[in-house]
Amino acid sequence: MYAVLVDLTRCAGGRACVSACKMQNDLAADDGAKVTIPGKRQDCFIGTEETSHRPPLTAQSFTVVEYHDASDGKGVPQWVFVKRQCMHCLSPACESACPVGAMHKTPEGPVVYDGNRCMGCRYCMMACPFNVPAYEWDKRVPYVRKCTFCAKRILNTDENQAETDKDPALREERMPACVAACPTQALQFGQRGELLSEARRRIEQNPGVYVNEIYGEDKAGGTSWLYISPVPFALLGFPMRVGTRPYPELTENALGSVPPLIVFGGSVLAGLYMLWKRKLAVAEQAAEAQNPAQQGGENGR
């Protein structure tokens, strides 16, 4: 399964990945779009202190780079630049939420969205532990938008891949656009297992450089995008309340109890009804003994 390793010690915050993504996906500027600025419906995107440092993911921004000052605020700023995009969970919450199967985890890695199925309930947006899916609020026919992992680029059907991979240009064409654009090798595209070993190797061989955690190794049951960082992830706005349990498991028990409910619940209710019916029959018999004429009239209707 494909994955990307993001090494936050290498990112220089140049946002080449952001421009590459915009071009790859024909995304517009966020000016004028209704984007999530804390507090209000905002019609301006660029220019505010908060958003220029930490722009939100929107329908026109599949990826952003956040600028975080990880220092304690007293001394020299310690800038850490964090690329954000869909984490492409191994067991995505959005996929398990969607009532029409519009979100789908492909075996190759990308979590892809099928707008032809979507009915716009926005449950995926509520369910995503990383708050990634964005909505085209300004469109009359709005779709959910998010990073596609450049599925069209990486899911090639080339039989001679091993051979053609030796050509660097061809290999770049099969990477996500952001990875191909990154000038500092902060992004590395490859197989998830290999990238996990690579991440561990970097952490072990550079003592004191990294914190000993690979974000995404087991968060939300594991993600296809993996991060290693020079400072604790909590300082960089990474969601820390996200557990290691795959999200679909959270609703499995409740949903699994529906079929037994129908079968056993139906039987129990029928049983209760029959008990009552018997009681009624006994009462009716008593009534009939008292007043046969009235009983006959009621049955005759």
Partner: protein
């Protein structure tokens, strides 16, 4: 004569309450036109931070719970020997039916691509609670329609159609429930088990249907099962948000919480609605039956209170009650559960029309508050913004409520739904009804 048990107010379109309702409905309709002409972004305060607003929280999630009276009353009357509540069952079923129809309309307004609303019928995901809710609501609305049909047949004297419905209903029920089991489990074995069990029951059921009831009992059972499934599944929706929903509300027990509170509010809605419509149409309030219902309500609220508190304590969140969010929790439980329990457990208060009514109203408001807490207030969304519905959002939600009241008042005029007299009275012929003193629509 079945008709003699029911009272139909004269069918008048223009009653004192109607203009106000029509204005509210018109405003809602206008806002709906705006919403579709301009799109969600320009007419709502929804955003990536708050993808769900008042339409989901109130029109859909509260709406489904508030329409629970249909199945709870049917269960009490038909399954749990509640013969003395019989007069309440038709209004409750009608209320449930209209409620679900408007939940669906509210959902259409909220959906980004509403013409894809039928997609859960053709695409079947495996784990989705919302998929389950979609199917249940669809099937249950048709069950409610069938449960209401006898009133229509009686109104027009279509006894042959009624007989046909009796014959067809068992097949319909076995079919929809087996099908439902199949798409929920993706398992032919479960579907076969459901089919065999239900078909076996249905073979015996039609003979056991008491014609006096007017509604086939298999249908009532189907309604209870489907309601149980989706009322709880609305809670399951939020199980996917353990990292965002505040721990006072997030619990693996959410489906059970949603179910028990929906059952409670079902009884409260019947008390609320029956009291108002009796007053409105100049009928005597069904004191005896409503007092009994409120007694049942006390026990259900008691169970609800117990599991809510036990759940918070067992999960080690007891101290959180006294934090900031605890205020929401305490007021929800205090006003919506504890006070109604105290009021309604006193026999004298239970038998007092307006104290009982007020307690029921508190239960209803408490449930609405609970659903808003879970959907919006206790939900930790990224950023530190606030959501307040736009005028269009508010107008549409208010318009939907007005429409429910309007259509309910029209339907009880058009069909035999309202009880003629309380149980103790001897039912007189229709002509001998006292002339209603007040005749309002709302």
């Amino acid at each position: 004569m079945a008709d003699s048990h029911f009272f139909q107010p004269p069918l008048k379109l223009l009653t004192p309450g109607t203009p106000a309702l029509l204005i509210l409905m018109g405003a809602g309709l206008l806002a709906t036109v705006y919403r579709f002409a301009l799109g969600l972004g320009s007419t709502t305060n929804l955003s990536d931070q708050f993808p769900w607003g008042i339409w989901v929280a109130f029109d859909v999630i509260c709406g489904v719970a508030l329409a629970a009276g249909g199945f709870t009353t049917a269960a009490v009357v038909y399954i749990f020997c509640g013969e003395r509540y019989h007069s309440l069952v038709r209004p409750a079923i009608l209320m449930g039916f209209i409620g679900y129809v408007f939940v669906a309309i509210g959902l259409i307004v909220d959906l980004g691509i509403p013409w894809h609303i039928y997609h859960p019928i053709i695409f079947w995901p495996k784990h989705s609670a919302l998929f389950e809710v979609a199917w249940c609501v669809m099937l249950y609305t048709s069950v409610l329609a069938l449960e209401f049909l006898p009133s229509v047949f009686e109104r027009f004297g279509w006894h042959k159609l009624q007989d046909l419905m009796y014959r067809v209903t068992p097949y319909f029920v076995v079919m929809i429930l087996s099908w439902f089991t199949f798409i929920m489990s993706h398992s032919v074995i479960w579907a076969a088990v459901a089919f065999v069990v239900l078909a076996t029951l249905a073979v015996f059921m039609p003979r056991l249907v008491s014609r006096r009831e007017g509604v086939p009992v298999v249908l009532i059972i189907a309604g209870i099962l489907l309601s149980t499934a989706h009322q709880s599944s609305l809670g399951t929706l939020f199980l996917l948000m353990p990292d965002k929903l505040h721990p006072l509300w997030y619990t693996p027990m959410l489906p059970i919480m949603f179910y028990v509170s929906a059952v409670a509010v079902g009884f409260a809605m019947v008390i609320f609605e029956s009291t108002i419509s009796s007053r409105n149409f100049g009928l005597p309030v069904e004191e005896e039956a409503l007092a009994g219902m409120s007694h049942i309500l006390v026990y259900i609220l008691g169970v609800y209170l117990l599991i809510r508190l036990a759940d918070v304590v067992i999960r080690g969140q007891a101290a959180t009650i006294f934090s900031g969010m605890g205020v929401l929790f305490l007021s929800e439980i205090g006003f919506g559960v504890v006070i109604p329990i105290v009021v309604l457990s006193i026999r004298k208060f239970r038998q007092h029309t307006w104290l009982r009514f007020s307690a029921a109203l508190l239960v209803i408001l408490g449930l609405i508050f609970n659903r808003f807490n879970v959907t919006l207030f206790a939900m930790d969304r990224p950023g530190h913004g606030m959501y307040f519905p736009s005028p269009e959002e508010l107008l549409i939600s208010i318009g939907l409520v007005a429409a429910i009241v309007f259509f309910y008042s029209m339907m009880v005029r058009a069909f035999p739904v309202l009880p003629a007299f309380s149980q103790e009275s001897v039912a007189p012929a229709p002509e001998q009804h006292p002339v209603p003193q007040r005749d309002g629509a709302a």
